[in-house]
Symmetry: C2
Subunit: 404 residues, 2 copies
Amino acid sequence: MIQVAVFGYGTVGSGVVEVIEKNKEMVNKKSGEELNVKYILDLRDFPGDPYENKVVHDVDVILNDPDVNIICETMGGVEPAYTFSKRALMSGKSVCTSNKELVANHGPELIRLAKENNCNYLFEASVGGGIPIIRPLNYSLTAEKIEAVTGILNGTTNYILTKMEQEGADFADVLKEAQEKGYAEKDPTADIEGYDACRKIAILSSLMTGKNVKYEDVYTEGITKISAADFAYAKKLGRSIKLLAMSKELANDETLAMVSPFMIDAEHPLHMVNGVFNAVFVRGNMLGDSMYYGRGAGKLPTASAVVSDVVDCARHMGKTIMCFWDAEDVKLAGIETVSRPFFVRVGETDAAKVQELFGNVEKVKADGLEDEFAFITETMTEKEFAEKAAKLSDMRSRIRVENV
Amino acid sequence: MIQVAVFGYGTVGSGVVEVIEKNKEMVNKKSGEELNVKYILDLRDFPGDPYENKVVHDVDVILNDPDVNIICETMGGVEPAYTFSKRALMSGKSVCTSNKELVANHGPELIRLAKENNCNYLFEASVGGGIPIIRPLNYSLTAEKIEAVTGILNGTTNYILTKMEQEGADFADVLKEAQEKGYAEKDPTADIEGYDACRKIAILSSLMTGKNVKYEDVYTEGITKISAADFAYAKKLGRSIKLLAMSKELANDETLAMVSPFMIDAEHPLHMVNGVFNAVFVRGNMLGDSMYYGRGAGKLPTASAVVSDVVDCARHMGKTIMCFWDAEDVKLAGIETVSRPFFVRVGETDAAKVQELFGNVEKVKADGLEDEFAFITETMTEKEFAEKAAKLSDMRSRIRVENV
């Protein structure tokens, strides 16, 4: 029997207990041994809960119990999860986490600690919720040199953008509705400003390169400036606007990592990823393009990913599963040298200036927006674009364009 | 150093050697040890090939060499691959294969032999080419009860259907063009009649249920009857026609497995899978829907999948990786009790009969097809539909409808 403890009995933590219970037969079979949830760590009591007698308030009860083999850390936030995880690993207990904040901040250290103590630190649930993406990167695409990873990694923003697209609505209205429906938090900053996606791409980017990508250094732009007018043009152009988190290997051993809204065309596999769904698009040097799609959040999908890590730990007791994420920092490229086309909206009064700066671009008009037009530039560097854009007197928006 | 032998120096086999060579650094790092291709088994000689001195014609040279740890079996066909694989496994050498024919015919026996000899029989490349799907089913979705797997598993037919859709062309013309371009074989039977997809879904279905699904028992219908007229209506209906291979858990412990063209709507994640791309859509009881998308064939993608199995074997020397596929046959459901809507095309002279048999259906007309119309039925069993359809005097086509 393998004894499991769950740290944090919130949405994901209670989901973990539910998955282990509901899919008991399958989970035990795949683990090769029976799993038992022995403890649940939470500050609160849960009177009436079927597992109320497993709840403890003192982490030492769990960390000092030699029977406990695996910890599911679903507390979120850096502290006290960080301290608890370190102590667990140092006592040879594997830790499976959904905590992207902690993984993005201290991944390499916790992975090293696991290795030193012949146990595992696994984090499938930290990116893409229930979509298996960490394990495919670590176990499946092992014959590949991965050249790029591009993801829709935040369900809240993708829900908002999809609604804006489908209903022609403005950002503020859709955000309000999403908050009422519980798809967006009361304080939505982490989602709409791209901070959540930023932590996730830092994790994927680290696994892609095998080095450490500091999330603080990842260029991050949210979706707050995207408007109904932008979507009106996108529709005319047969395109969609998505918040993409991307990481690419560039020349000179540099890596580009960024989060930003992008205009993508209908041929792009991420174009069909709507609502709360997430997806990760991976380009390998042998395999070419592949994509992993599914529910990026939610109690049971996320819990399922945590439990898949528990099964993996159970299959590898006493043995550390390989994971390449060194503490050495990756060489991050500045975005200003990266080239791409840009979508631009300007007032009609800028027409001559546009011609002068960007040449003979194709003017696109949208209904009800008589005093302006839009166009897509040639491929140019961010720096070059910024310099030209600064010379426009009435630029109303600019969105990066990404082609497959 | 881990010694590898490649059986069959054809397209995939030479791709395996190329991937191991080109991505040496990555492959060795992920394997934890250096890989070396010691032998290539082929009846032919390859004068001038950089690996010509590794070519041997006698399998015994390889099987009797205790240094060889891992075999890549990329010969295709049942014999002699079956005999060679058995002998390799019985001497404790792991086998990684792209041979769907062999896996579909003898999977459970070869998996058992591997277990008995503390080695591995892995077959990631046998389904979906380079798309990681076997490993996600075996390692990632371990906390899930998988309820259904639906795939576009054959690139040739998907290429043909995509071309028919985009160009309004007829089957025979597109097939001819595909043959000229090398996307379809001279004898295209195995692809266009669905036999290839049938073997692949038998494999996925076996992994889903943990029991054996005999491919001979899987209901299989190809794409030869699909016409430009069918696509004209599909377009009107905002739908597409795809050759789907599916497996579903039904009540009473029965499993439905079938290959058939289906009409799917634009909301279905498989709708966007065009050309030679493949995808597998998986429904789990906790995770909900997920999808795995990529190149389903081709030298390097398929070889990359074989090499990912080699890396997995290298990481697990002397240890058998869990795989649940018992020799016990699964209880396959007959398709006649399965319910779904059907798309039907009939001559206008059948209009009254349609009303009598199917009620007030919505008539759909397509340009240039004045003497006929189409409709989609209510959900009904295959049996019920077949009985009604037999009473129509001028039914021109019927295509199953699949909704997400």
